[in-house]
């Protein structure tokens, strides 16, 4: 019999409905899996056993009383540790927030709880979500479940890894420049960044406010849609959240792609992309064509400038967003002779190297005399990228590209070369700048047995067609491989 931890959400939900097992048993299976994998994986920063069992038991009581709340009732889900959880430590993988316990739940967390989901714990990330490998965690890196010598991607590396090995059925991550999609690709799961404003950011510790979006990581496209459906929708606490009803993305999964026009982004299909990744991407695109889609090549010329623009806009916003971590009200405080000295010391000791690098970059980019040349110019590029996308969507329904230029790289390989690390997000950043939705779906393995993801992009609030195509890609790929860390020889040594 399959281990309960390996079920999809839809299978687990049916099992709970049929009374084949309880939410407590599901949770026990997930925690057992974590016990086996965590020593090597380090996907979780905190596991909230007590809270999780209370939530699972409550779900069991509801089902017994005939009051099931929905498909997530009783399903164990992990939360990236930059999402505020009332009463549970939230660190952003930073020393500066060591021991910080928020007094409130992020809106997405509150919505998951209302849907009956069981919050297992908080997952590892690059400090304040700044990085592409989860090596920038103050609490040690997360490993790739397919090869522990390699990174899981980042910054939502912990979320991707725990979903991949089955120590959670799904997870929430945040995506500022690819932080959901890239680790999903590197860990062989589905990761989705919604349209900017579809999901409330209230309670997400901000990295770059105009780019950040919370989204699901799951083992199937359908599961990702189920989680997204639970958290999407207008929130009066987030002025940038969309007031309209969310798109009906959950109903498009079975439609197929017959008659859809799919654009392959020319700029993301050449130099700098690993040949094996390119080959798998082309194969996936061919399968879409075979399934009835019309495939065309599309140029997005301004995408070449996306990375540069992103690394001005994101650090600029981060330099301001992270200013509040000063030792005055919460988190780490390193004493000093004056208030100013105390704040400076706290920040110097509390932040890691990459965070400090970005704060410095961003402070510089916003400085008087430099603003126009850097931040102002980057905003203009952002406008151009939006226009390029808008023009492309006049002729195609969705765009596709690789999610990541390479498969998982080795720990330490890019740690000392920030530019090489930044390049990891070259394919994912454009959607953040445009504010459009995008998803990564696993399509195969490279010759080293490492997963490859296909990125699908759609226009703003185009989640319906996005999931429609993603489901077809998933069916076409028939991706069924399981990571080494979740396989039986590791489980039962």
């Amino acid at each position: 019999m399959t281990d309960l931890a390996d079920l999809t959400i839809s299978e687990a939900s049916r099992g709970l409905d049929d009374g084949r097992f309880s939410a407590r048993e599901l949770l026990e299976a997930v925690l057992r899996r974590a016990t086996v994998t965590e020593a090597q994986l380090h996907g979780y920063l905190t596991i909230d056993r007590e809270g999780a069992f209370a939530a699972a038991d409550a779900a069991d009581r509801r089902r017994a009383a005939g009051g099931r709340r929905g498909p997530l009732d009783g399903i164990p889900i992990a939360l990236k540790d930059n999402l505020c959880t009332r009463g549970v430590e939230t660190t952003c993988a930073s020393q500066i927030l060591a021991g910080y316990v928020p007094p409130y739940d992020a809106t997405v967390v509150a919505r998951l709880r209302e849907a009956g989901a069981v919050a297992v714990g908080k997952t590892n990330l690059d400090e304040f979500a700044m990085g592409s490998s989860t090596e920038n965690s103050a609490y040690g890196p997360t490993r790739n479940p397919w090869d522990p010598e390699r990174v899981p991607g980042g910054s939502s590396g912990g979320s991707a890894a725990v979903v991949a090995v089955g120590s959670a059925f799904a997870a929430l991550g945040s995506d500022t420049g690819g932080s959901i999609r890239q680790p999903a690709a590197l860990c062989g799961i589905v990761g989705m960044k919604p349209t900017y404003g579809l999901v409330s950011r209230y309670g997400l510790v901000a990295f770059a406010s105009s780019l950040d979006q919370i989204g699901p990581l799951a083992r199937t496209v359908e599961d990702a849609a189920t989680v997204l459906a639970a958290v999407a929708g207008w929130d009066p606490h987030d002025a940038t959240s969309h007031p309209e009803e969310p798109p009906a993305f959950h109903r498009s999964l079975e439609r197929g792609v017959e008659g859809l026009r799919i654009g392959v982004v020319a700029e993301l299909m050449g130099a700098g992309i690993d040949p094996e990744v390119l080959a798998e991407t082309r194969a996936a695109v061919d399968r879409l064509a075979a399934a009835g889609a019309e495939v065309v090549e599309v140029g997005l010329p301004s995408v070449d400038y996306a990375l540069s623009a992103y690394y001005l806009i994101a650090p600029a916003e981060c330099s301001s967003n992270l200013a509040r971590f000063d030792g005055v009200r919460y988190g780490l405080r390193v004493e000093g002779g004056t208030a100013e000295e105390m704040m400076a010391r706290t920040r110097a000791e509390g932040f890691g190297a990459e965070v400090i690098r970005r704060i410095l970059l961003g402070t510089y980019a916003l400085s008087a005399g430099y603003y126009e040349a850097f931040y102002g110019q980057a905003q203009k590029v952002r406008t151009l990228i939006r226009r390029d996308f808008a023009a492309a969507y006049e002729t195609v329904d969705v765009l596709v590209s690789p999610t990541s230029p390479t498969t998982a790289f080795r720990l330490g390989e890019r740690a000392s070369d920030p530019l090489a690390m930044y390049y990891s997000d070259v394919c994912t950043i454009p959607s953040n700048l445009a504010g459009d939705p995008a998803i990564s779906v696993p399509i195969g393995l490279d010759s080293r047995g490492l997963p490859i993801g296909l990125q699908i992009m759609a226009p703003a609030l185009g989640e319906e067609v996005l999931f429609q195509v993603a489901a077809e890609v998933e069916r076409g790929a028939g991706f069924a491989a399981r990571p080494r860390l979740a396989s039986s020889e590791v489980m039962e040594p």
Partner: protein, 482 residues
């Protein structure tokens, strides 16, 4: 100071008295226990986001409209970045380009002259928390420790910036006073300087009279009354002129007004001043204030002080009285009502702005609590008109009315202040005085008029001031055969 001209611009911060704060649902309440009106948003907790308060936007649009500003249909929020312990996010949500209001003006009357002060901008921002520096002279540099209270953090704050159109400390004070009246009339803030719900910063520079180039300016802070605004500017002008006349140069810096010592003290110079790294607030959408909303707000504005003053003058108040009446709307209301019911403007205006205000001050009450009813004012004025009361007696009656002794007639009777108008009684009193002063009567008969006043005085004294002096004079002329 001759040969020099000052150039003054004023930045004013007004706290709006909305029910909730600018970007969260916390109550706006002075006088709460420290850190009780706070939430994740106004404490700047990780993950919290701002949501604009519609009532505050209405408040600022009222102010901008009252100041004749262009109200931008699309206005932008910016972040002003600087580190300070009582600024929870270490940035303040404020405005930069496209503020709510721009290009307004405020017309003042100073010393009989009209002065139009340009309003550069009216913008929306959030207030900071308050620091209490312990074990020092109130300065953070010397504090042993600092206590923070975030109840004020996030209170809606409107900043009103003038063009450098003011030239004298008196004009600056008149501007401050008129702005305070406008804000109070709009009902958006109590605009109390002592409590900080209205705060002034003044930019001051001086130049040789007749030149047009601007001198180096300093910014003065911490004036918490209209009087200290005027004094601080006067001091600063004198200081700058002194520096320049001694061959020195003025340093561009921020200076702190020390009320006790009556002087300004340097706080920080331009070199140390911050680069605020303004950029558009990504957590907020552009503020849309459409035509319909603007018109609805404009239509809802009460009569503004200038218009009200003009109306009061038309009713017969002099300029000074009209200004005083407008300062306290309840007095202006009483004035209008009493005058429209026939009471003479001069008399009623003088009571309202004189005796009544003085009485309120003497008992430490608000004017609203003590001001007599319209009926009482009309009755009292009528008694004076009908010569039942002398002007002096009327003031005594007014004092009785204010003290709650009853209606004007009741008080006049109880205090025995009604004038003797009865002919017979007056004739008797006059006859007695004439009998006592036959020599004076002779002079009058001989054609001198001056001594009549002397005899009137004697009769008044004999009647304890209750005789109607006009009637007494009439009778004396008749009896003495003048």
């Amino acid at each position: 100071m001759t040969g020099w001209e000052a150039v003054i611009g004023i930045e004013t911060h007004v706290e709006l008295q909305t029910r909730s704060k600018m970007f969260c649902g916390c109550r706006v309440d002075v006088g709460d226990e420290p850190n009780t009106a706070v939430c994740p948003v106004c404490l700047g907790l990780p993950g919290a986001l701002p949501v604009p308060n519609r009532a505050a936007i209405e408040g600022i649009v009222k102010i901008a409209t009252a100041l004749g500003c262009v109200v931008n249909e699309r206005s932008l929020f910016y972040r002003k970045n600087y580190f300070y312990p009582d600024l929870p996010k270490n940035y303040q949500i404020s405005q930069y380009t496209y503020p709510v209001g721009e290009h307004g003006r405020l017309v003042l009357h100073v010393d009989g002259e009209e002065l139009a002060v340009g309003i550069t901008r009216v913008h929306m921002e959030e207030d900071t928390g308050k620091s209490l520096h312990v074990g020092s002279g109130g300065r953070i540099q010397e504090a042993e420790h600092t206590l923070l209270d975030f109840n004020r953090s996030g209170v809606p704050l409107v900043e009103i910036v003038t063009e450098p159109d003011l030239r004298t400390p008196e004009q600056a004070r008149a501007y401050g006073a008129e702005l305070q009246r406008i804000v109070r009339t709009l009902g958006v803030s109590d605009a109390r300087l002592e409590e900080g719900s209205m705060r002034f910063d003044a930019n001051v520079s001086v130049r040789r009279s007749g030149t047009s180039e601007l001198g180096v300016r300093t910014e003065i802070k911490n004036m918490n009354s209209l009087r200290s605004l005027q004094r601080a500017i006067a001091f600063e002008i004198g200081r700058q002129v002194e520096v320049l006349e001694a061959g020195g140069s003025v340093v561009q810096e921020t200076r702190h007004w020390n009320e006790a010592e009556g002087r300004t003290v340097a706080m920080r110079s331009k070199e140390e001043s911050e680069d605020y790294r303004y950029f558009q607030e990504p957590d907020l959408l552009p503020l849309e204030i459409d035509e319909a909303w603007r018109q609805r707000i404009a239509a809802s504005l009460p009569r503004l002080p200038a218009a009200r003053r003009a109306e009061l003058v038309a009713l017969g108040a002099d300029d000074r009285t009209a200004t005083l009446l407008v300062d306290t709307p309840v007095l202006a209301d009483r004035f209008e009502a009493a005058v429209s019911r026939g009471a003479p403007a001069r008399t009623v205006g003088s009571w309202l702005t004189g005796e009544i205000v003085a009485y309120a001050r003497s008992v430490g009450a608000d004017v609203e609590e003590v001001v007599p009813a319209v009926e009482d004012l009309v009755e009292l004025a009528g008694m004076v008109e009908a010569a039942e009361l002398s002007a002096t007696a009327a003031k005594q009656v007014l004092a009785g009315v204010l003290a709650g002794e009853g209606t004007p007639r009741g008080v006049a009777e109880a205090r025995d202040l009604l004038q003797i108008s009865d002919e017979g009684a007056l004739e008797e009193a006059v006859a007695a005085v004439l009998a006592d002063h036959p020599d004076v009567v002779e002079q009058i008969r001989a054609g001198e008029t001056k001594p009549i006043g002397f005899l009137v005085g004697r009769v008044m004294r004999a009647t304890g001031g209750k005789a109607d002096p006009r009637k007494v004079q009439e009778i004396i002329r008749r009896e003495a055969g003048a």
